[in-house]
């Protein structure tokens, strides 16, 4: 029985590519085979880019033959379909961008190309990254590889599911209120939202510009560290990317967290929390203590206002950002009698229900008479939320919380009630409000589905997050768990074999 190359970590694959034991084309073929096996059920991708990937893999093999190996050379990656790429459509999960072909690459995409990374496809997302289940994609939902009746989370549900299913080795997502961490948690993989300003947003389809960050998803903390290394740094094309040095993240992966102070906030015990999830996270806290970390109670008193603040600020910024979809420059265009009629028809037809809801909410919050009561008020509460964290980080190095209050929910379970859907992001939103980095890692199972915990850190201190997450991961078996569906297809048709 031939070996399943989709199980390799980036580090293992890269070492074997460098030694020419495997080729980038073989590594890609193993992932394409997995895509053929499971993609009809999972639907992690809006667009598969097999031809692009094959050319990139061949080029990677030539590069490796010359001895020129970057950490991601020949590594198959999935890109969330809100990242602009010149050689594939970029839809943002919306009908309004159907057929759009970006004339330029996002900065993160350019950086991956320079390393010789292999792009397997554009991963499914809630429309304009607005959602927590990937059910808001205009191209149909993605299903969770752990249980096809469950959502993968969202909005980067395609990126998380692709990695969990072995359709890509790593992926990029974007996170405005939890959209990397929550789906990584639901799919049992690792997801990191960098500090606001760590990674360039140039070429990311904008949702809420003061909150959005691009970040990596992978099966191990080290894989996530390698991708973060590749995409971080200042970019003249994004004036909000910050010019501070990028450390060598792999040196953080020491396995030693003795003396690290981990804060736990009483405010993170919320109504609606699944007691099984709580129990699993409590066990993880005990494990961290056994590893030598010190658990310190902290207080984040404005936590209960974070969700409400987010649902004013994010839609307000979105309503401004999405004004560009007017049917004039690109995308769907319906012609009315007048220019106004054309706008109304194009936008009315092109946007889905959740996007319309948020544009309406944001426009309302920014409109004359409501601006001070909603938008300015929310910005002030944002200050209070940020101050809570500033104070807590005087006492601790990282803050631990569950990633989500529940495990992955059923498709359709929350679509009728927007607020129920929004509540799944209650633990992830505060990091976006304060601009802090956060990492979600698997910490066990409840109801047969992955449970995830999250570490939040000081601005630009991704290194400590990676260190703590890695030490926990290495001491526990969760990152080696494989969804039963994937076990089954691997047994039926070993990678490299014929069906």
């Amino acid at each position: 029985m031939s070996e399943d190359l989709t199980r390799l970590t980036v580090t293992e694959a890269s070492a074997r590519l460098a030694r020419r034991e495997i080729s980038a084309v073989e590594l890609l073929q193993a992932h394409l085979e997995r895509i053929r096996q499971v993609e009809p059920q999972i639907h992690a991708f809006i667009t598969l880019t097999e031809e692009v990937a094959l050319a990139q893999a061949q080029e990677a093999d030539r590069r490796i033959a010359r001895g020129d190996v970057a950490p991601l050379t020949g590594i198959p990656i999935a890109l969330k379909d809100v990242l602009c790429t010149v050689d594939a459509p970029t839809t943002a999960g919306s009908r309004i961008l159907e057929g759009f072909r970006s004339p330029y690459d996002a900065t993160v995409v350019r950086k991956l190309r320079e390393q010789g990374t292999v792009f397997v496809g554009k991963a499914n997302t809630d429309e304009f990254a607005m959602g927590s289940s990937t059910e808001n994609s205009a191209y149909g939902p993605t299903r969770n590889p752990w249980n096809l009746e469950r959502v993968p989370g969202g909005s980067s549900g395609g990126s998380a599911a692709a990695v969990a299913a072995g359709e890509a080795m790593v992926s990029l997502g974007s996170d405005t209120g939890g959209s990397i961490r929550q789906p990584a948690g639901f799919c049992g993989v690792v997801g990191l939202k960098p500090t606001y300003g760590r990674v360039s947003r140039y070429g990311l389809v904008a949702f809420a510009s003061s909150l959005d960050q691009i970040g990596p998803i992978g099966r191990t903390v080290e894989d996530v560290a390698i991708v973060l290394q590749a995409i971080s740094g200042h970019d003249p094309y994004d004036s909000t990317s910050v010019d501070v040095p990028v450390p060598d993240y792999r040196t953080s992966l020491t396995g030693d967290i003795r003396g690290i102070r981990i804060g736990i906030a009483a405010e993170y015990q919320v109504p609606g929390m699944d007691p099984e999830v709580e129990r699993v996270v409590d066990e993880a806290v005990a494990e961290l203590q056994r590893l030598g970390a010190e658990i310190v109670p902290v207080s984040l008193p404005h936590t209960k206002y974070a969700l409400a603040t987010y649902y004013i600020i994010a839609p307000s910024e979105a309503s401004a950002n999405l004004a560009r979809y007017d049917g004039v420059k690109y995308g769907l265009s319906l012609q009315g009698e007048t220019l106004l009629e054309s706008y109304l028809q194009t936008r009315g037809r092109g946007f889905g229900p959740e996007v319309k809801r948020r544009i309406m909410l944001g426009t309302y919050a920014l409109s004359a008479g409501y601006y001070d009561a909603y938008y300015v008020k929310a910005q002030k509460v944002r200050t209070l939320i940020k101050r809570d964290f500033d104070e807590a980080f005087e006492k601790v190095d990282v803050i631990l919380a569950p990633t989500s209050p529940t495990v992955a929910f059923r498709l359709g379970e929350r679509t009728a009630d927007p607020i129920q859907m929004y509540l799944s992001d209650v633990f992830t939103i505060p990091a976006n409000m304060a601009g802090l980095p956060g990492i979600a890692i698997p910490c066990g199972f409840a109801h047969g589905l992955p449970v995830s915990m999250q570490f939040m850190g000081r601005p630009f201190d991704e290194g400590t997050l990676l260190r703590v997450a890695h030490a926990y991961e290495q001491a526990t078996p969760w990152h080696r768990a494989v969804p039963p569906l994937i076990e089954a297809v691997t047994r039926r048709a070993p990678s490299g074999g014929t069906e």
Partner: protein, 97 residues
């Protein structure tokens, strides 16, 4: 509190969103319940608190005002629904007198 139909119509027009009758009624319900939830922040006294628009400490970011190459016009117009003579084509905005 339930949003009036007039407010929903007004906001939809500001946002240039063409909504069906059914969508407008659903929007009244859903926006009202979301607003009820977000109104939680009104209980906080924020009189003395400055607003946070962005979290990074950067103030102004300057660069030299140099002419640099921009995207080729044909690339930019490639996605245009309608274009003519290096321009995006739209319906007349001004009435002819």
């Amino acid at each position: 509190m339930r949003l009036s139909r007039e407010v929903v119509d007004h906001v939809a027009m500001l946002a240039r969103l063409g909504l069906t009758e059914e969508e407008r009624e659903r929007m009244r319900e859903q926006l009202s319940s979301i607003l009820e939830h977000v109104n939680l922040i009104q209980e906080l006294d924020t009189e003395a608190i400055p607003p946070t628009a962005q979290v990074i400490t950067l103030q102004n970011v300057w660069r030299e005002d140099e002419v640099r190459p921009s995207l080729p016009i044909e690339d930019v117009l490639k996605n245009a629904p309608d274009a003519e003579d290096n321009m995006f084509k739209v319906n007349a905005v001004l009435e002819q007198s």
